[in-house]
């Protein structure tokens, strides 16, 4: 299995298109950081405009608010919606790409089972996803910490503001990146499943992108009918649960409780939903592939 995994990883990282995703992430993160470096205060003022009638915000306050942790959160807020598309580029190509090149039948003549072959492909796609996420973490978190320094993190939710002291943040990012790995693996497993049906990688990549876009729009809509009936079952609804690690509990007097998470059971529930989706997508892909007549 390990040998198979190494071969699959070699194949992934041999292809130039693999690095498109890394390049795209680097470009987006740098552009975002540069924009905030030069005009971050305008962005901060826009967010604070809602409460500037009740509070005094000095230049020092705004400067401290725009710290590395805050910038990283803003980057992840934007980028973790786009990243599934980059993940689909590789996972959607896993089987369909082989079929397209005519190497699938040849690969299966080797003394390995189809399940093993599929698991090797899936784990290789998952490792690529995690590496992509690590690359994002290094650029967005450590890069922003280096550029903007560190301070307390303030998260602006729709109807509340959560502030964490700076010694209570780093572990939250570790947990959030861990969760994001599960979220992106869900997308990878979807693309992997769709890849089984096609002989050309463009089909599963575009299909995955379309599903993620439609589901994300549905997840973000605030329509009571969808809230109760559709949203709880969409994996995109649960993909944003990484933010839950930055929602804190407070005591009776409104003071943040250090090390607390507002609703950990909800995050664990969302994580379970994602793991169930991964299991369903991957097992379906294997089940279908085992019965598939390989013609190319």
């Amino acid at each position: 299995m390990w040998k198979l995994l190494k071969i699959e990883l070699f194949k992934i990282f041999k292809r130039p298109r693999t690095y498109i995703a890394f390049g795209a992430i680097a470009a987006i993160v740098f552009l975002f950081q540069i924009a905030l470096w030069f005009d971050g205060k305008t962005y901060i003022e826009l967010i604070l405009s809602n409460i500037d009638t009740s509070f005094d915000f000095s230049e020092q306050f705004k400067g401290r608010l725009l710290n590395g942790y805050f910038v990283c959160f803003a980057v992840l807020n934007i980028l973790l919606i786009q990243m599934p598309l980059l993940v689909a580029l590789i996972a959607g190509d896993a089987i369909a790409g082989e079929a397209n090149m005519g190497t699938l039948r040849l690969s299966l003549t080797k003394p390995i089972g189809r399940t093993q072959y599929m698991l090797g492909k899936f784990f290789a796609s998952s490792i690529y996803t995690v590496l992509l996420l690590l690359f994002l973490a290094v650029l967005a978190l450590f890069g922003s910490m280096l550029l903007f320094g560190t301070n307390d993190l303030v998260i602006f939710r729709s109807t509340s503001i959560h502030q964490m002291s700076q010694d209570d943040i780093f572990w939250r990012y570790l947990a959030a990146f861990g969760y994001a790995a599960a979220a992106l693996t869900t997308v990878a497993s979807l693309a992997f499943l769709l890849s089984v049906f096609a002989d050309n990688s463009i089909g599963p990549i575009i299909a995955t992108m379309s599903i993620v876009i439609v589901f994300t729009i549905l997840s973000e809509m605030n329509i009571p009918l969808y809230d109760r009936t559709i949203k709880p079952y969409l994996f995109t609804t649960h993909m944003v649960a990484w933010k839950g690690f930055f929602y804190v509990r407070s005591d009776e007097e409104g003071a943040t409780i250090k090390g607390s998470i507002e609703n950990l059971p909800a995050i664990l529930k969302s994580l379970s939903v994602l793991l169930i989706y991964i299991f369903l997508f991957v097992s379906s892909a294997i089940w279908i592939f085992r019965r598939k007549d390989i013609l190319s």
């Binding site: 000095s58 509340s160 003071a255 609703n263």
Partner: protein, 240 residues
């Protein structure tokens, strides 16, 4: 009445005469202080302070904000400069927080008409300050004064622009300067709401009680650890 007659009267009332005289003397010396006298006494006490630097713990209690307890420094310089500074972190400082320093009210008492409103249930003297200038932001300020210790224990200030501020002060170590060890500053907050399209929130079921967060009063509580009084403060610090 001749000397003889007086002697007869005092002689008849002899056993009460000293008591009456003492009572009259007591009444003369314990008559209620006028509002102006109280104000002048407090002002004299507060005027001993040219500047101070105080360290304390600040707790912000606003319905829609969850913030950690912060270590802050409060700087004051005569006549009305005040700064609440979180030296390392971030603190949400409410508008009108300059009013946490009661000295501000006493800087220019000539600008107010003082109305004596008697005593409250706790025995605190109530003085109402009305600005003479119609264009002033302050509409009315009510002071609740501990006459015995010459201290302002509570104040309530209504402004045109920023609603009503309330200030409660507890004194202990710095009684002689009229500086509190603990203040609770209450202020009006407006609704806070950002579109979900911007925040892209994760719905963990914790934000369903949005209406409860509207138009609530916020409070800032500062517990002072120590004051450094009249050691000089550079005015530049207030430009932050």
């Amino acid at each position: 009445m001749g000397v003889r007659s007086m002697f007869i009267v005092f002689g008849r009332w002899g056993k009460y005469s000293f008591s009456i005289l003492f009572f009259l003397f007591y009444l003369m010396n314990t008559r209620a202080q006028t509002a102006e006298e109280i104000v002048q006494k407090i002002k004299a006490k507060l005027e001993k302070i040219n500047d101070y630097e105080a360290e304390g713990k600040m707790k912000t209690n606003v319905a829609f904000i969850k913030a950690p307890v912060a270590t802050v420094k409060v700087f004051y310089k005569k006549p009305d400069k005040l700064l609440i500074l979180n030296e390392t972190g971030i603190s949400f400082v409410p508008k009108g927080s300059v009013n946490i320093n009661i000295n501000n009210v006493f800087v220019n008492m000539r600008a107010f008409d003082i109305i004596d409103a008697g005593h409250d249930d706790a025995g605190l003297r109530i003085l109402k300050l009305l600005p003479k200038d119609d264009t002033a932001d302050m509409v009315l300020s009510t002071l609740y004064i501990d006459e015995k210790n010459t201290l302002v224990k509570r104040s309530k200030t209504t402004t045109k622009e920023n609603g009503t501020y309330e200030l409660e002060m507890s004194y202990s170590k710095y009684l002689e300067y009229g500086l509190p060890d603990r203040i609770v500053f209450s202020f009006n907050t407006k609704d806070y709401k950002l579109p979900k399209g911007i925040t892209l929130d994760y719905d963990d079921g914790s934000e369903k009680n949005g209406d409860k967060l509207k138009n609530k009063k916020g409070t800032v509580e500062i517990n002072y650890k120590n004051y450094i009084i009249n050691k000089g403060i550079d005015s530049k610090i207030f430009n932050r």
